[in-house]
């Protein structure tokens, strides 16, 4: 038990000593209980007493709390945002855990034991010893159809998902296809409809029977949910309108990869553009293995890797 709150003077001059991975052990235990419940009921949103973190709500506080609760001193952490290790928020979160947990960090997907992500799933298939932690802004897949939490909880409890199917059907009636490109709803283990977080629907098939444990943390909305390894995750569709992922007309301009998710980069104001891998680690490893895309000059790729 601490004696007195520090005064402004002591806060200003002493570096406060934080617990391993920032959160106190009581809080971690509370989060682990929520995670275990989530694993026991795949796709069910478990309320948890989300804490205020030293980064803003909406910037990954849920994912950070889940990571803090599962991280051990021997873990190797990878953090990606938009598939990339070097986007600013990924850099900030990786730095946070390096500072507060002192764990080893990596950009290599295969090397990591815990991967925290925002908006993407790595291209390389994950393995049994890995945990994928998603940052989730709005955990409720029915939220944009029904804004009230009291209602949506009841709908889940009664497995009353007609509204979602009507929405998807209306898309088809209006556009000829389902016009949802990211945060595409899935059914987990044949029971709960779940929001995969705003990953592109391209990534949905990667969740199906993944060998890795998948954990989802929504800090502001105070919810945790999970997909245990080898669990069925099915994207909602209709028999005559089966689920399809995005395809790209050209391969990655740097590593020539096909069948991966690409980012469009504008090159000038005259319509010039190129498509490159969103998963930067996958792209770098392919280039290291000698794959060359149309625009991969040797000098640039060396600079990229520095």
């Amino acid at each position: 038990m601490n004696a007195l709150p520090p005064t402004a003077a002591t806060v200003a001059h002493d570096t406060p000593a934080y617990n391993f991975a920032y959160l106190d052990e009581q809080t971690k235990r509370m989060i682990r209980r929520a995670i275990l419940k989530g694993i026991a009921i795949p796709g069910y949103q478990v309320p948890f007493a989300s804490r205020e973190m030293p980064m803003p709500y909406g910037w990954g506080t849920g994912g950070v709390q889940v990571t803090a609760a599962v991280l051990g001193p021997d873990d190797v952490l990878k953090v990606i945002d938009q598939g990339a290790d070097d986007t600013t928020n990924a850099v900030a979160i990786r730095g946070f855990f390096r500072k507060t947990a002192g764990v080893r960090t990596t950009t290599h997907t295969a090397e990591a034991t815990v991967i925290q992500t925002r908006h993407r799933i790595p291209e390389a298939p994950l393995a049994e010893h890995q945990i994928l932690v998603y940052q989730v802004p709005i955990p409720e897949p029915l939220r944009f159809l029904e804004p009230r939490e009291t209602e949506t909880r009841t709908m889940h409890a009664l497995e009353e998902y007609g509204l979602m199917h009507v929405k998807l059907y209306e898309d088809i009636a209006r556009h000829g296809h389902i016009a949802t490109t990211y945060a595409y709803p899935v059914k987990v283990d044949g029971r709960y409809i779940m929001d995969p977080s705003p990953t592109p629907k391209f990534d949905n098939p990667k969740m199906h029977r993944s060998k890795a444990l998948q954990l989802f943390g929504a800090g502001r909305e105070k919810r945790i949910y999970a997909i245990p390894p080898h669990t069925d995750v099915v994207s909602l569709d209709f028999e005559d309108h089966p689920f399809k992922v995005q395809t790209f007309a050209q391969p990655c301009a740097l590593c020539a990869a096909e069948g991966v998710y690409l980012d469009e980069v504008l090159l000038d104001d005259k319509g010039g553009r190129m498509f490159v891998c969103s998963d930067t680690d996958n792209c770098e490893e392919r280039r290291a293995a000698g794959h060359r895309g149309a625009l991969a000059g040797d000098d640039i790729s060396r600079k990229d890797r520095s």
Partner: protein, 360 residues
């Protein structure tokens, strides 16, 4: 051609160095001290303590300085610090009837036991910019009573003696809820609602309170009383077997008295809306009291039609640290999802163009 957005780490570090430099401002001028902030920007400090849910003037002043005067950022700093503090118990309910009153006004009675005590208020000042304050003018010493009044009866107690106003709910002895330790679920009890409002954004509560006055869930309010001053904070010490006073805090309390026509179960009587805030914060306490009363619509059998009567709407959006985080997160990169949308819009435009051509 393509240069990836590398060097994020260096860019962040440099941005933070630049921020620190801008915060410091002109280095030929002395740095502003925490004593100056706590002493001369005391109402900013009060707001940070109230919405940060931590009564500590020094830390709140530090937060205001660090946040460059951005009070929501300062509140965030205090919240992030507060959440790391151990929680070793709950105090007894503070006794505002025993307050060392520095200000007390009632709009419902011309005079009343204890009298009207204006105290330090902006009310009745002419809002004319005072050019003298650009310097440091000599000020006359304030005229103060030799002794601050204590034990001043609350207006609601005076009304309560006649049974004209609903009684305060009896103490149940059950532990008071804490939405920072347990996730809020709906319907929420009044203790949690009041906690949410007390931490809630002043501007948001002000707008909601105002909307009730303009007819969106009207509550016919009167300011029964606003009082501001110091109250003692008492805590039970299990080792001692009795309670001890651990300090004094400044609070502002507002009791709204609202009309109630009565229902099948209850005779006509006045009802209460309650507001309490750390420090001197009348606008906050009054807004809170109006919204508290509006949120009691269901309990009092009134129609729930307006936003201020909808607890899920009010409580889910009143926290400015949550609101600002989620609004500002739109600054983060979203290009993966945008790419997916870009692809879809292009495809749909092509389809429309093809259909048009086929029709021609």
């Amino acid at each position: 051609m393509y240069v990836a957005v590398k060097g994020g780490e260096r860019a962040i570090e440099n941005a933070h160095r630049l921020l620190a430099d801008e915060r410091r401002g002109d280095r030929t001028l002395p740095s502003i001290t925490l004593e100056q902030i706590a002493g001369q920007l005391s109402l900013a400090v009060d707001r940070v303590m109230a919405e940060g849910s931590l009564f500590d003037r020094d830390l709140a002043a530090l937060a205001v300085k660090q946040a460059r005067g951005d009070l929501i950022e300062a509140i965030f700093l205090i919240r992030a610090y507060r959440t790391t503090l151990p929680r070793f118990g709950a105090t007894h309910p503070i006794e505002t009837a025993a307050m060392r009153v520095r200000r007390r006004i009632s709009a419902t009675f011309k005079d009343l036991p204890g009298g009207q005590l204006l105290g330090p208020t902006f009310d009745y000042t002419h809002r004319l910019l005072d050019p003298d304050l650009a310097g440091d003018p000599d000020l006359p010493a304030p005229a103060l009573r030799p002794e601050l009044p204590t034990a001043m009866p609350r207006v609601t107690d005076l009304l309560g003696n006649e049974g004209l106003i609903e009684a305060d709910p009896a103490e149940t002895g059950e532990p008071v809820g804490d939405l920072t330790r347990e996730p809020l679920s709906f319907p929420a009890d009044r203790d949690l609602r009041l906690q949410g409002l007390a931490r809630g954004d002043e501007g948001y509560l002000l707008a909601l309170a105002y909307s009730t006055q303009r007819g969106y869930g009207r509550t016919h309010p009167f300011v029964g009383e606003i009082r501001m001053g110091e109250v003692e904070v008492e805590i039970d010490v299990p080792e001692l077997g009795f309670s001890v006073v651990i300090g004094r805090i400044t609070v502002t309390e507002c009791q709204m008295v609202n009309q109630f026509k009565g229902s099948a179960k209850a005779p006509p009587a006045f009802t209460r809306g309650y507001g309490l805030a750390f420090g001197h914060q009348e606008r906050k306490a009054m807004s809170m009291a109006l919204v508290d009363r509006s949120l009691r619509a269901g309990e009092l059998g009134e129609d729930r039609t307006a936003p201020a009567q909808d607890e899920e709407f009010v409580l889910s959006h009143c926290d400015n640290v949550q609101s600002t985080g989620f609004v500002e997160h739109l600054k983060l990169p979203h290009y993966v999802d945008f790419q997916a949308e870009l692809d879809l819009v292009r495809r749909m435009r092509t389809e429309v163009a093809e259909k048009r051509e086929a029709a021609e």
